[in-house]
């Protein structure tokens, strides 16, 4: 690249980065980026309180229990067997039920609910007429389970909504905002090629969105890990691919900013009203799983989903259409996914460079 062009790109970036990052009309982008962080903080606070309650419950137990003790209880066991295994429950509830029989008379069923804890996990045991009918274990220290929740929020909120609309807000305004502010001529009167100007603006937008969303992603990871003990954090990060996953999520976020950024840059030049392209893109990205393979590839989310390190499992009872949305039935390999996003972005940037060269300063028609 020509040395002067690079100096010009840096000059454009200096102006645009500051403007984009501190734009008052872009405050909602910060709110979008902060929402999942707030969600994880709230989750950590709730789980922390529950954990504290579990510890108190464990202290009140007749004997010190382990996770193995809790899982040793099975459905169909008698009340005596449960009490022999776990001791007298620290929290117990007793109630009775009158249930009609086929003969028309009523039969009385005695219910008992026991609540045990080992300090990390809670066990809920339901007994009916002295036999275990239902069991539920709720663990507060299960990074594996929580990482699936993280993957779900990342794919369905962060990528599809926060980054999508954040990029829309930033990149569509790079030229469109200047036209609305009637200040585009400032750039068009300078001795700078229009496509170099576009490159500078795109890179500034990319830097701004990456700063916002990568920071959000890092904070999300920190908030997500907050309620775990140091040992669990260490185990998750360094022995269960946690750190690797965090790095991949950051990479996917950057690629999402590149892909959506390039798309919304060109959309901002083609459309006067941002609602139309946003709606079209949102619908296109949403129906991606139902599209034929060739059309799937003309999409950003298709490649991004393929890069996500944790799959969101589909519950057996999920309706087929929803299951198709959640699962990534036809993922591509990581190198191909990265290449796909970059190719889609380069095509969008090429179209932008043609549009910007033909752009006129004609504020009165806006």
């Amino acid at each position: 690249m020509n040395r002067v062009w690079w100096a010009q790109i840096k000059a454009v970036m200096r102006l645009e980065f500051k403007k984009t990052l501190f734009a008052r009309r872009g405050l909602w982008i910060y709110v979008l980026a902060a929402l999942p962080v707030a969600l994880y903080i709230a989750f950590a606070v709730v789980v922390g309180n529950q954990q504290h309650g579990a510890e108190k419950l464990a202290r009140r137990s007749e004997k010190a229990l382990t996770y193995r003790d809790l899982t040793s209880v099975k459905e169909g066991m008698t009340k005596q067997e449960v009490l022999a295994l776990l001791g007298k429950p620290p929290v117990a509830d007793h109630w009775s039920e009158e249930r009609p029989t086929d003969s028309g008379s009523n039969v009385k069923i005695e219910h008992e609910d026991y609540h045990y804890s080992d300090g990390q996990s809670d066990l809920y045991v339901n007994l009916a007429d002295g036999k275990v009918t239902n069991l539920a274990i709720n663990s507060y220290d299960d990074p594996g389970r929580d990482s699936i929740m993280f993957a779900g929020i990342f794919q369905f909120f962060f990528l599809r909504l926060a980054v999508f609309f954040g990029c829309l807000g930033v990149f569509m305004n790079l030229f469109r905002g200047e036209v609305l502010d009637r200040s585009l001529h400032f750039y068009f009167l300078a001795p700078i090629r229009r496509d170099v100007l576009m490159a500078g603006k795109f890179l500034a937008g990319l830097l701004a969105t990456c700063t916002i969303f990568v920071t959000s992603e890092i904070l999300q990871t920190c908030a997500f890990l907050w309620h775990f003990t140091a040992r669990q954090q260490d185990l998750y990060l360094y022995h269960n691919h946690g750190l690797e996953h965090a790095g991949i999520y950051i990479g996917v976020t950057v690629l999402a900013c590149i892909g959506y950024g390039a798309f919304f840059l060109v959309a901002g030049m083609v459309f006067r009203n941002p609602i139309a392209p946003a709606a079209i893109a949102l619908i296109w990205e949403s129906i991606n799983p139902f599209l034929p393979n060739i059309l799937k590839q003309i999409s950003i989310i298709y490649y991004l989903k393929s890069l996500c390190p944790v799959d969101v499992p589909v519950d057996p009872g999920t309706p087929p259409i929803l299951a198709l949305l959640i699962s990534n039935g036809d993922p591509v390999s990581a190198p191909l996914a990265i290449l796909g996003i970059l190719v889609v972005s380069v095509i969008a940037l090429y179209v932008s460079s043609i549009r910007v060269r033909r752009m006129e300063v004609n504020y009165t028609t806006e």
Partner: protein, 312 residues
């Protein structure tokens, strides 16, 4: 490389609205004023010249450069627009400095050029204030300094004297004159016709998107045949002189000035009138001065375009 700003059969339509139509111009160095009422196409012509809008038809070359080549074009062109909007949050100095940095020059060089341009328009004291807090006149001056900052060969100035006080106007006119004297091409659009008279080497008159006249003011006046030339003669006995003039058949209308020390005469053939004057026996009539009374921009404007929106 061409030494002119050339428009060849240039037309610009905004949808169905005519901007300018079939414009052919060849603008030499010096100060050229674009004159015409609102909507006549002055700003469109300037925007075309600087590539801010693209011609629907025809070609434009600015000293050999195409207008769709901003990288080279704006090395030699500075344009002070009428758009009164600036990038947000910048001080006057930052505005100029950022503009200069866009050319890819070194920071120290841009800083030096920015301060010099600020000094040229007398904004040094306000340079570190936000442009948003500037008065209309100060904003006009900072726009002018942007156009001047990189010492362009071609200065395109859309209503550059708008909002300036009389002192600043005089300073700016001197600045434009100096630039023209150095061989620059200064293209000015203006409503203020007496200023056009003072500063212009040539005029381009526009009406409804068409160029109705171009050239220096005197030659443009000479080409207007349908309106007789008006000549003011200051003398001690105007009535006697008027009688002589009518007898000579070169004057088609004569009116005596109300102070009784002159007369206003209309003739269709100026050269023959002057020849006749030289041969006339004056018999004690003392001629103080003879001067054309309608070879100024205002008169030409009225003849060609009418008197709508003429600012005297």
């Amino acid at each position: 490389m061409s030494d002119r700003i050339i428009f060849e059969e240039v037309s610009k339509f905004y949808g169905e609205i005519l901007g300018v139509n079939r414009v052919n111009l060849s603008i030499p160095p010096g100060i050229t004023s674009l004159v015409g009422p609102n909507g006549s196409g002055k700003t469109t012509l300037m925007n075309l010249m600087t590539g801010l809008v693209r011609p629907s038809r025809g070609q434009i070359h600015v000293l050999g450069y195409k207008t769709d080549d901003p990288e080279n074009l704006f090395k030699i062109v500075g344009y002070s627009t009428q758009f009164d909007a600036f990038p947000k949050g910048l001080t006057g100095f930052e505005f100029l400095y950022s503009y200069l940095r866009l050319s890819g020059q070194e920071a120290s060089m841009c800083e030096r050029l920015a301060w010099r341009a600020i000094e040229r328009v007398n904004l040094t004291e306000a340079a570190n204030r936000k442009v948003a807090s500037y008065s209309k006149g100060m904003r006009q001056r900072i726009r002018l300094s942007q156009a001047l900052a990189h010492d362009p060969k071609v200065l395109v100035l859309d209503e550059p004297l708008n909002g300036l006080d009389p002192l600043a106007r005089a300073e700016m006119i001197a600045l434009f004159r100096a630039a023209a004297a150095e061989g620059c091409y200064v293209i000015i659009s203006s409503h203020i016709l007496h200023e056009v008279d003072i500063i212009s080497d040539q005029v381009v008159m526009l009406s409804n998107g068409y160029v109705v006249a171009e050239g220096n003011i005197q030659s443009v006046r000479g080409e207007i045949q349908e309106h007789p030339t008006q000549i003011m003669i200051r003398c001690n006995r105007p009535r006697e002189l008027a009688a002589k003039m009518l007898n000579s058949n070169h004057a088609i209308e004569i009116s005596i000035h109300k102070d009784e020390h002159g007369l206003l005469l209309k003739t269709r053939d100026t050269d023959r009138f002057y020849l006749a004057m030289n041969g006339m026996a004056m018999n004690g009539i003392e001629i103080e001065s003879i001067a054309p009374a309608d070879d100024d921009a205002l008169s030409i404007y009225e003849y060609l375009i009418g008197n709508e929106e003429v600012a005297r």
